[in-house]
């Protein structure tokens, strides 16, 4: 006698068993396909990123790196801040005029405008202090020349770094392609935390003149700030190999040690 219920249960078990390998195979194939597609996409995006980086590196390497600096191409920054600093430190004394009788002297030096003299600091001599001749009684009320007052009046440097000024500089840089201007703008943007612009202007400056240490350093620093540390390292290594710059080496060390982030 047939036990149909039991037969049906056995048949169901048999069907599940017979279809199980197919399901497993199908699942395996689907998993494999998904895995391959994910891997392919990852590889593709990695390739894309790699290509971009390589393009940047190539564009960097296309910029001719510095050759031994010759006097012919020497870049001079003007005006010399050193000079200004030195000048500020100078004690401004009244010009000793020995020939002038003391009575005619009482014109205080403070009234004379101090003009920056375009003389290198080395040529400046610290004038010897000579006590001022005794002024006549009427003039004694006039206060003595104060150094600070003199300095305040004569060296009031107004740094107008407004947006308009920078725009003006950018326009001039565009017109003249002056590397110094470019470097100044790059430095300005770096100081103000706009590393993208700093990177751009440093790069432009390098294109104009690729022998400015500071420009390469600013460029690398901006790269680090933009999170492209590897690219910055590569750039610095490349630059060091060509220019043997100590500053660049120092920065590279700092980046590698993690001191500069």
């Amino acid at each position: 006698m047939l036990d149909i219920k039991r037969l049906e249960r056995r048949w169901l078990k048999y069907k599940i068993k017979s279809f199980l390998p197919h399901f497993i195979a199908l699942f395996a194939v689907l998993s494999l396909l998904i895995g391959i597609s994910l891997w392919f996409n990852t590889e593709k995006s990695a390739d894309h990123n790699r290509t971009d980086t390589e393009k940047n590196i190539v564009s960097l390497t296309k910029v001719p790196l510095p050759t031994p600096i010759s006097d012919h191409n020497k870049t001079v920054l003007e005006p010399s801040m050193e000079f200004v600093q030195t000048f500020q430190d100078q004690y401004v004394a009244p010009e000793p005029e020995s020939k002038t009788p003391p009575a005619e002297v009482p014109v205080p030096a403070v009234n004379k405008p101090v003009r920056p003299v375009p003389v290198p600091p080395k040529t400046l001599h610290m004038p010897e202090y000579t006590p001022p001749p005794e002024a006549p009684a009427g003039l004694k009320a006039v206060p003595a020349v104060s150094r600070t007052v003199t300095n305040d009046k004569s060296l009031s440097i107004n740094r107008n770094e407004s947006k308009l000024d920078i725009e003006d500089l950018q326009r001039r840089f565009k017109e003249t392609s002056n590397a110094n201007l470019g470097l100044f703008i790059a430095r300005y943007y770096y100081d103000h935390g706009d590393f993208n612009e700093a990177y751009n202007y440093a790069l432009k400056t390098n294109n104009v003149n690729n022998r400015i240490d500071e420009s390469w350093i600013l460029f690398s620093k901006s790269l680090v700030k933009l999170g492209k540390t590897d690219q910055a390292k590569k750039t610095l290594q490349l630059y060091i190999s060509q220019s043997n710059s100590d500053a660049a080496r120092g920065l590279l060390d700092a980046i590698e040690k993690g001191n500069f982030k």
Binding site: L2, I4, L7, R10, Y14
Partner: protein
């Protein structure tokens, strides 16, 4: 109570070898004709071999059924293992001689030559692989003496091939190999069997897909096919009685074929 539509087909597939149930299939008919022709020739021994369930026994029974009308033919369906008994049974059925003394090979040959029949009598031995080697040797000697013409059937397995080689290979004048049926042949077999019994509706229920499934499950073995179909129609009988709405009368349900296969052990579930 109305008789079940499927009870008659079920009984048709009972595993009984009956020459009246012989179904003519092209390949089998060809084999049978070859066998009949071989029997007419003055051959000493004819071997019919093939894998189990290829229809050897059925052919042998059919041959016996057809030849017995014209000449002396003895069909030994169940092997007689004892040599004395074997010779005695043959002597009694073929020569009508039943000696009281022990029947030896020499005595058997004497009886055979004394009678000198016009047509060489034929003995059909089914399942010959079950005979002992010494008895097989005697059978060979009898056939060599042209006292009796033997038609024997053998299962074709590796082991039985060795027996065939040792005892028959050099003496067999004709050998016929039977093959397992293809899906088409099985379809013809099933449908002819059903149509012969006037089960037209049930015969039309078998389509090619069903027969491919049956052939795959039974590997073209007629005996397994009979068992499977018997179980299948038993299932139909049950459903007809208990859940008639679940029966589709236009086609056999593959699920039920598989259930029948599970029941008969063709599928291990």
């Amino acid at each position: 109570m109305e008789p079940s539509l499927f009870s008659k087909p079920r009984d048709l597939f009972l595993d009984i070898v009956n020459p009246r149930d012989y179904v003519q299939i092209d390949s089998v008919s060809h084999m049978y004709q070859s066998l009949k022709n071989s029997v007419q020739k003055p051959l000493k021994m004819i071997l019919l071999y093939g894998r189990p369930g290829t229809g050897k026994s059925m052919l042998l029974h059919k041959l016996h059924h057809d030849l017995s009308k014209h000449q002396k033919v003895l069909m030994v369906s169940t092997p007689i293992v004892d040599e004395d008994d074997f010779l005695r049974v043959i002597a009694q059925n073929i020569f009508g001689h039943s000696p009281r003394e022990v029947m030896t090979l020499n005595r058997f040959l004497e009886i055979s030559s004394a009678l000198s029949l016009r047509d060489t009598p034929i003995v059909l031995l089914d399942e010959a692989q079950l005979y002992s080697p010494s008895l097989m040797e005697k059978i060979r000697l009898i056939s060599d003496a042209r006292a009796i013409k033997f038609v024997i059937t053998l299962h074709k397995t590796d082991k039985e091939d060795i027996i065939a080689k040792e005892h028959f290979q050099t003496r067999i004048w004709e050998s016929i190999e039977l093959q397992n049926a293809s899906a088409e042949e099985l379809k013809i077999y099933v449908q002819k069997k059903l149509l012969k019994a006037n089960c037209f509706d049930v015969a039309n229920m078998f389509n090619d897909k069903n027969m491919k499934l049956i052939a795959a499950l039974t590997k073209g073995n007629y005996r397994e096919t009979n068992k499977l179909l018997f179980s299948l129609f038993s299932l139909y009988c049950w459903y007809e009685e208990n859940h008639p709405a679940r029966i589709q009368y236009n086609a056999i349900r593959p699920k039920w074929i598989e259930m029948a296969a599970i029941h008969t052990g063709l599928i291990h579930a």
